[in-house]
Subunit: 432 residues, 2 copies
């Protein structure tokens, strides 16, 4: 089993060949929805799946690569489609995305594809079949880079594909429908709607993913069991004060928009620190047309607030916005806030999460639980079936969305062992 980590490292490099611009030229990996690099990546994944010994490997109407490894007792170990799965044999779904952010890393998404492929290769090598169908979905889109349609690929499986997306244009004016048709996909809503899964046929969804944060790295821990994917709210804020001469306006007569924004940023930090697992970030700030010698009359900034549970998120957001109003009022400036995104928390299914805990323990690793600050495909599947995620430690202090994203071969091996243990756990302790 120790060679699985090495395989995953090699496969990651194989997939990272396809980038625009090319990795070797620019040391960059950019693979956005249905671009040439993305289509080549899809072909390479299909080859990997076929080499591993999946029974079926196909591309669906949104470009997901779907591989199925049939159960021993499945109606047929080849030839039957997913929809035909018998009532007695259920399916475990796993997967993650193969698209990347611009100038992203090699493991974000892809690790959650390559680990289950390594598991199927291992099962084939052992000439073993499971008591359930094992479906690996390589999602074509999660990052929302080319189109403003984040999670379109996993969304298609949960019935959340927004029909208006087909007419949406990328930066070059190409509609999603044209991009799909150019890639050999139908570009047809009827076909996309058919992708929706029937939850009754599924055990649930599991996903392995690089942590994309520093917690496991700082703790010296290889694997983490995810308890919840955070709820989040994003907002764009504006403080309006009065621009005035920086030399001639006494400190006590100012209505400085920037200082109010600064105070709000620090208050948001302090408030988030009071919670277990909450985060609040001001990622953007600017004084439009600001001059070195003019008191800022306006300041724009962003707020990103997340917490493991919806209630905790709501309290965080309410407190921050109320305190922002009182800071603005005390400083004689106006505070306005427009919410641009609101996502519910996706707490792990406890029974599925406990299977990950047993799996991690069985490979000799400590059980470390953490919540996920980032969104994942599991968030979408959460809306229709039980889900639970496994995190794998990132090197370089967990940096992600960056070419410096890295994992170790040893951790890739451990993650694959834990995934195999999860498959065994479901085999040994079937859901009642």
């Amino acid at each position: 089993m120790s060679s699985n980590g090495q395989k995953i490292m090699e496969w990651s490099e194989r997939l990272a060949q396809y980038s625009e611009p090319h990795w070797a030229e620019k040391n960059q990996l950019t693979c956005t929805y249905l671009t040439p690099a993305h289509l080549q990546t899809a072909r390479e994944i299909k080859s990997l799946m076929n080499e591993a010994g999946f029974d079926e490997v196909s591309t669906d109407a949104v470009g997901n690569i779907v591989g199925v490894y049939r159960a021993a007792s499945s109606s047929s170990s080849s030839g039957s489609s997913i929809a035909d799965a018998t009532a007695t044999v259920k399916t475990l779904m796993t997967g993650s995305h193969y698209d990347t952010v611009r100038n992203g890393g090699k493991y974000d998404g892809r690790l959650g594809i390559l680990i289950p492929i390594a598991c199927v290769a291992e099962l084939v090598r052992q000439q073993r079949r499971l008591s359930y169908d094992f479906e690996v979905v390589c999602f074509s889109e999660e990052e929302g880079q080319r189109f403003r349609a984040t999670f379109l690929a996993s969304g298609a499986l949960t019935g959340d594909f927004d029909p208006s997306w087909l007419d949406q244009q990328d930066a070059e004016g190409v509609t999603m429908r044209s991009a799909m048709q150019a890639a050999g996909l139908p570009g047809d809503l009827t076909e996309i709607i058919k992708l929706k899964r029937d939850p009754e046929k599924y055990i649930g969804f599991v996903e392995a993913h690089i942590e994309q944060g520093p917690v496991l790295f700082e703790g010296g821990i290889a694997l983490g069991v995810v308890t919840s994917i955070n709820a989040g709210v994003r907002a764009i804020c504006k403080v309006t004060g009065t621009a005035a001469h920086a030399g001639t306006t006494p400190m006590t007569m100012r209505e400085d928009a920037l200082l109010a924004a600064a105070e709000i940023s620090l208050m948001a930090e302090k408030r988030a620190l009071q919670d277990e697992g909450s985060v609040a970030t001001v990622g953007q700030m600017q004084v439009p047309g600001g001059s070195i010698n003019v008191i800022p009359g306006e300041c724009l900034f962003s707020l990103d607030m997340r917490a493991p549970f919806d209630g905790q998120r709501d309290a965080l957001v309410a407190d921050i916005l109320a305190q922002a109003q009182s800071i603005a009022s005390r400083r004689g400036v106006k505070f306005e806030c427009t919410e641009t995104m609101r996502a519910s928390a996706a707490p792990s299914n406890l029974k599925l999460q406990e299977r990950w805990e047993r799996a991690v323990k069985s490979v000799g690793q400590p059980v470390f639980k953490l919540n996920s600050g980032a969104g994942h495909d599991a968030m979408k599947l959460h809306t229709i079936m039980p889900q639970a995620m496994l995190f794998v430690r990132g090197g370089n202090r967990g940096i992600s969305h960056n070419p410096m994203e890295i994992i170790s071969q040893e951790d890739a091996t451990l993650a694959t062992q834990a995934f195999m243990a999860l498959l065994d756990d479901i085999e040994t302790h079937p859901f009642s």
Copy 2:
């Protein structure tokens, strides 16, 4: 005397006709060095001076309009040049600038030209001459808008004209030398050097100016006696932290560049508030390439720090920079600071300041003293002769560098009366 305010209001409108774009079209006043609007303004000022009855009105080698009203005992009440002034008859110099910032106000600079012109008109009407020569210099450049050569006009009188400025280009690639020659000026350094004044021949320099701040307006006071023009330091600052995922990086594991900058901004405010007359302003702030969901890895901001005296300014700057370092160090980020400007304070000559105090009192106004947060031509003259300034209240909470800059006719009348009183005071109580 009550019509002087009205005259000044009318003359201000006359000068404001010349703008690019035109005031009437865009409600904008922009008059930068040696542009067509600037040359038309200069011609209009010469007409005003000739109408008022100055003995000599000329344009010097940097475009200053110089008007002289000769003393009763002057070697000649017409024809003799400034440099020929006899040892026994000294000169009082006054003046201010007629250029503006882009989209500026009608009174910034120009009020300090129009008040003494009104005084000369009044002296002529009374058929009075003073016991000293009265020289009104209308400075062609103070705002540093077209060329990076702020105070070039008053600098020429103090020997601070930088020869390299002649080769400096404006945004269209026109050198200052070409601009001067196109305007009919020699564009020749030798001629500019000759403009340097001999301090031995001068009583000193006085300047009336709109306050450009809210202090007189908020205090309900028409006139203010300036005690000092603030010392200042400007700096560009950079905080370097670590960009990381806003969702996945716990609050306790962040090296957020923006939060350090926010804390530094609030600390600078608090530190400036501890002093009488100090100000500190962060006018610009940005997170280069910042995203709503990324912890800022870098933050750039400006610092403008001013105080009435050099020592107070130095302590302010030293404290702010030291505290900035300790904030950065506590937050695990790097703070760097590059000084871009350092100007010494110009405290008023106490005897000349007392003359303004007596003048203000003599017109029935309370003596209110304040320091100037903005720089003025008097700052340059300060380097070679005694100087003291009078501030006139601005309406609209003292807004300046803005088309909303305004003064009342009543205040213009009071300022002219006070200026006449100052001229009388120097007449009655000559310098020993």
